[in-house]
Symmetry: C2
Subunit: 364 residues, 2 copies
């Protein structure tokens, strides 16, 4: 079952023709989840191989414009391209408190009535996620009227035991959010596939006298079966080891994490997507603006023993060597800085439209 | 004094890589005025020869997303690129009632404190500018708090005598808005340069005994001077005929006008920029959505005796012949339809990044 990550925008601060503002798409089984939606994300989607109509969930890491100003426009365009269907499940939107009111008011002002249902689940940040003077309490915004077509989303408070937020827990995935430190409250998302049942051991099935047919399906789905001779076959007898799920962690802007959940949730991630706005020589400036450098990102990746680190959200001053103009810096320097911390483990620098496949895991 | 119009986005409904969402820039003497600001306008500006930092006024025709969703992002990027300067005059933003609250709330939510002053002047629409069931009264929005750095803009009501709104009246320009009929209230803007003083007639000055120097400047500026011999020279004696100002009219989405101001204000315009979303064969559909066809646009242009008609805001289904794919229609058909109404007078179809110069006029 293929799973791939596509970077739609990898620049910081504001969109530019290249790189565009922040957006990452995660695709699996024809579904598409979008992480952040800077201005222009909808045109980046049109330029890519992805189909915007396949988006079923949208996650917003934090409320800086370059991460969410493209959201109302994307929703309106999705609506223009969709046909009314009362059975359509809502598009789930997750983001910091204040996002629901913004979406609702913007659609109201622009007379946009979406032809598909959506629901906004808001994460309530804690005050230690940003400098005290930057914290704004948007809880009053949530008292605004709800638009008639909009189901009421959940208000998600920090789980004090887990130190995280549980967003999704369905048959296939668990998605949790964890807290980051930035100029304003920011979040990271850990997307974890649930393990898949191992293959049926056909040789063993034959030996046990189970005939191919519906019983195979039951066993594969974890249901014990009783044969005509009265013998009970349990799935564990005939299934190979389950296939572990993949784990992708996508962090918003940050100069560090808050609490111990980030480290736990990102542990041994197959892919960690971390910002590196400025290079290591600019660490002081990066921290001042709540951002990371390659050393900071790879230090976190190393602690979490992640298998693949991808850096993104680069300052517009970094350009590929082939595009460098006066005043630009060589972006490959960020790769070298990150790899030196990871003892040579390869680090990838994201680029607009780069797609990375996350291969299925092997049985343990 | 050069004056040019650049089309930054010429598509309707939503942005796409090409054409982009609505935006037109009017440049004169290094200043730039922006008309509409669909999502992605800031990146279109970066791709163009224009400098976003030169924008001094922004006009929004109506509150559909493809005409103003790019505004908060543009303001934030302008701020990032500017340095604090207490003497900087504010950027004037003109648009329908509700725009100020939207800008303020969006900047507040995204923790964006602009480093330059801006002021939003809101036009109060009348109920006959759209179908009754579509009209929304946004006057309550204007009771929101004002951000500390923001000067309070004017609330502009329709002048019942002129049937228009006076937006700007300074040394160089008069700008008035007039009412259009659309799905939601929409406006057109008539930008009229004031006449410029004619050249000094040097031969005549010599004959009258006026020596070259400061007196020339005074006369040129319309001030009478008294010579040493007691003779008074009035500007009219030595100035050639004034040079008439140019007039550019930019209309928002519409399927017609409301009241008689549009016709008066657009009379003999040097350039009329009018939407033509669908071709003449789709007139019924166009009217249903509050839009125009080439025939409708050129009919208005003909009544106003405009000198140049430029059509824009094309449905995404029209493509240049060279880019046509399955299901696309030939955009040049719109040009033919418009020109047939104008008895062959040439009509221009706008394209993204097309720049049209509006030459200085000759003395009458």
């Amino acid at each position: 079952m293929s799973m791939e990550v596509t970077f739609l925008g990898t620049g910081s601060a504001h969109p530019s023709p290249s790189p565009a503002a922040s957006a990452v798409a995660l695709r699996r089984e024809g579904q598409c989840w979008l992480f952040d939606c800077g201005e222009g994300t909808q045109t980046q989607l049109m330029r890519s191989h992805l189909k915007a109509g396949r988006i079923t969930k949208i996650f917003i890491t934090h409320l800086h414009g370059d991460h969410f100003f493209g959201l109302p426009g994307l929703l309106c365009t999705l609506s223009l391209q969709s046909s009314p269907d009362s059975n359509k499940p809502p598009v789930d939107i997750y983001g910091p408190l204040g996002l629901r009111s913004f979406i609702w008011r913007t659609l109201e002002l622009s007379h946009s009535q979406l032809l598909f249902p959506y629901v906004v689940h808001e994460l309530v940040p804690t005050r230690d996620q940003c400098p005290a003077e930057e914290f704004k309490d948007f809880s009053s915004l949530d008292k605004d009227d709800t638009s008639p077509g909009e189901a009421q989303g959940r208000i998600l408070h920090l789980d004090p035991v887990e130190n995280s937020y549980l967003l999704v827990d369905d048959e296939q995935f668990v998605v949790k959010a964890f807290r980051l430190f930035h100029r304003i409250p920011s979040f990271g998302f850990a997307v974890e596939e649930k393990p898949r049942a191992g293959k049926l051991n056909v040789q063993k099935l034959k030996e046990l006298g189970v005939q191919p047919g519906p019983l195979y399906g039951k066993l594969k789905n974890g249901i014990a079966v009783v044969l005509e001779n009265g013998v009970t076959i349990s799935p564990a007898d005939v299934l190979e080891e389950p296939i572990p799920g993949r784990k992708i962690c996508i962090l918003g802007d940050c100069s560090g994490v808050v609490g111990d959940a980030a480290m736990k949730l990102c542990c041994e991630a197959d892919m960690l997507i971390h910002e590196a706005t400025l290079d290591d020589t600019q660490e002081e400036k990066a921290r001042e603006h709540g951002h990371s450098t390659p050393k900071m990102a790879s230090g976190f990746a190393k602690s979490c023993k992640v298998k693949k680190l991808v850096l993104t959200h680069f300052s517009q001053r970094y350009k590929p060597a082939t595009q460098m103009g006066e005043g630009d810096a060589d972006i490959t320097e960020l790769k070298r800085q990150a790899e030196s911390v990871l003892d040579g483990q390869e680090v990838t620098l994201a680029e607009d439209f780069m797609t990375i496949e996350v291969p299925m895991k092997k049985q343990k």
